[in-house]
């Protein structure tokens, strides 16, 4: 039982890692907490569902389409909303992201209704490994997330775009006088963030029913993961996501499963009280 819960928690943690990374990238590079992460995941799930269910595309193709749709939506939202409010400060941007979240959620509701939807995929028999039941959706989730994490790590550490993103996160004004166009980097950051959220939405749609509030169910664990890891630290976001995912699942051993989100709330509360910079935040935030 405990091994099964641990494994489920690991997969949940990996699923949380993508949106937690998206949240931490926006916070690091653009300096505000994006409350629209959940709704962008929802949009990704619906985009993938339309491709998969209505156009009969394979799930992998649908996931790519979802990533592209959310990446473009994020870039357009940046141009129409966030870029215009950039000089008003982090609180205004945070509130604006709440507005963006409500708009996206209600567009989904208007277009697809309130009924729960699901992907058109074959149900396969789970495999058993050392007493742990592993289904194909969990394997796919783990594989996609691990590939994304490796690719993102390479982009951030080894490419000019990654260096520019880290430079803007360090000091946007200095990056500007080193020839980096902040606006271009902001747009590309939003596209990467959108891509991650589109994929995360698709994977979340494999895990649970797709409805307009789907993303909200992940919002608290995503924030808990990013804060636990230290907002602004990509590695911290991944570690935080794994810890929160495992803690939420393992909590079923001692509390009813309906209350498992209490784990994330408690984590946020304790972190804000005793270690606001999170696990790796001291290095990542304090310069």
């Amino acid at each position: 039982m405990a091994a099964q819960l641990f494994f489920n928690g690991l997969v949940t943690g990996l699923l949380l890692a993508l949106p937690a990374l998206a949240l931490t990238l926006v916070f690091g590079v653009l300096k505000f907490a994006n409350f629209a992460v959940g709704s962008m995941m929802t949009l990704g799930a619906y985009a993938a569902w339309v491709a998969n269910y209505h156009f009969k595309m394979p799930l992998v193709t649908s996931a790519v389409i979802a990533a592209v749709v959310v990446a473009l939506t994020a870039a357009i939202t940046n141009t129409l909303v966030f870029e215009r409010l950039r000089d008003r400060g982090a609180i205004v941007l945070l509130v604006a992201s709440m507005g963006v979240s409500l708009v996206i959620e209600n567009i989904c509701r208007f277009l697809f209704g309130n009924n729960a939807q699901g992907f058109d995929v074959l149900v396969s028999r789970p495999i058993r490994w050392m007493g742990v039941r592993i289904n194909s959706e969990q394997i796919m989730t783990a594989a996609v997330v691990i590939v994304c994490l490796v690719v993102l790590d390479v982009v951030l550490r080894l490419t000019p775009l990654g260096r520019a993103m880290r430079a803007v996160a360090d000091n946007a004004a200095l990056a500007a006088v080193r020839g980096v166009e902040r606006r271009v980097i902001a747009t590309l950051t939003w596209m990467i963030v959108g891509g991650l959220l589109g994929l995360a939405g698709t994977l979340a749609g494999l895990d649970r029913a797709i409805d307009p509030l789907m993303g909200w169910n992940y919002q608290i664990p995503i924030f808990a993961a990013a804060i636990l890891g230290g907002l602004g630290s990509p590695l911290g976001a991944v570690i935080g996501a794994l810890v929160i995912g495992i803690a939420e699942e393992m909590s079923a051993l001692i509390i009813p499963t309906n209350y498992r989100q209490a784990v994330s709330f408690t984590a946020i509360l304790l972190l804000l009280l005793f270690r606001a910079n999170g696990l790796l935040g001291a290095k990542a935030v304090r310069k």
Binding site: D170, L174, R178
Partner: protein
């Protein structure tokens, strides 16, 4: 005017300030002769740093114009000004602390599309000016001392092969030994053909290497003279004079 006689930097009627507040830079006219060092000095709060930030494009121009070797950059972004030949080293936070020395140096050129002379040869030349950096390329900039950071900041700016280098109080917070090294480095930079605008609180150090001195008081340029002709008593009076 021929290219040879064009000022490296030309500023006309420049006014700038923060947000909706009053002007901090209040109508400055200023030319920088090619391959010279001009020190801009003045009391605290006189607008020196705001002036140089405006030139770098970090503060919006409210009136007037800025051109680099004849090219108008008044409404260009900071990044485009670098591509036009205007490099800037801020007073503080002048390196990216989470990036290594190598990454700081790489970043200084990889977004300068269209800027001539920023290749590998340039990097070799710049590293020859700051040999200490070449020995520790993998060190995080955040782990460097103040003087080493200053050298990295100079090197990063110089990699852009600038016509004009804007330096905002490079001696601030440095030990006397490092101040001397910094001033020597600036002199070497000028010798390599770069025009330098040096904003400095340490007047004595600035006067040692500058060709000319400009005094800024309350956002106005109140004196411009050759460095060797500076009358220290008159300078003191200017520093404490009340400007309307």
């Amino acid at each position: 005017m021929t290219a040879a006689t064009l000022p490296a930097l030309s500023v006309s009627g420049l006014r700038a300030g923060y947000g909706h507040g009053a002007d901090i830079v209040r109508g400055i006219d200023f030319d920088l002769p090619p391959e010279s060092i001009v020190a801009v000095i003045g009391p605290n709060g006189s607008g020196k740093s705001s002036f140089v930030k405006t030139l770098a494009g970090l503060l919006d121009v409210r009136a007037g114009s800025v051109s680099v070797t004849g090219q108008d950059v008044t409404h260009e972004t900071p990044a485009r000004r670098v591509a036009a030949g205007l490099a800037y080293v801020p007073q503080e936070a002048n390196v990216f602390p989470s990036l290594s020395i190598r990454e700081n140096l790489k970043l200084a050129t990889e977004f300068l599309r269209g800027r001539a002379g920023v290749g590998a040869e340039r990097q070799e030349h710049v590293l020859s000016l700051f040999p200490d950096l070449a020995l520790r390329m993998r060190t995080r900039a955040g782990d460097l001392s103040g003087g080493q950071r200053q050298m990295l900041a100079f090197a990063s700016a110089l990699l852009a092969n600038p016509e004009v280098l804007l330096l905002d109080e490079p001696s601030a917070g440095l030990s006397p030994k490092f101040v001397e090294q910094t001033m020597e480095a600036i002199a070497r930079v000028r010798a390599a053909g770069v025009t330098v605008l040096l904003v400095e609180q340490n007047v004595a150090a600035a006067l040692k290497i500058a060709d000319e001195v400009a005094v800024l008081v309350a956002g106005h340029l109140t004196l411009r003279t050759e460095a060797k002709l500076v009358d220290h008593t008159a300078l003191g009076e200017l520093f404490f004079a009340k400007v309307a």
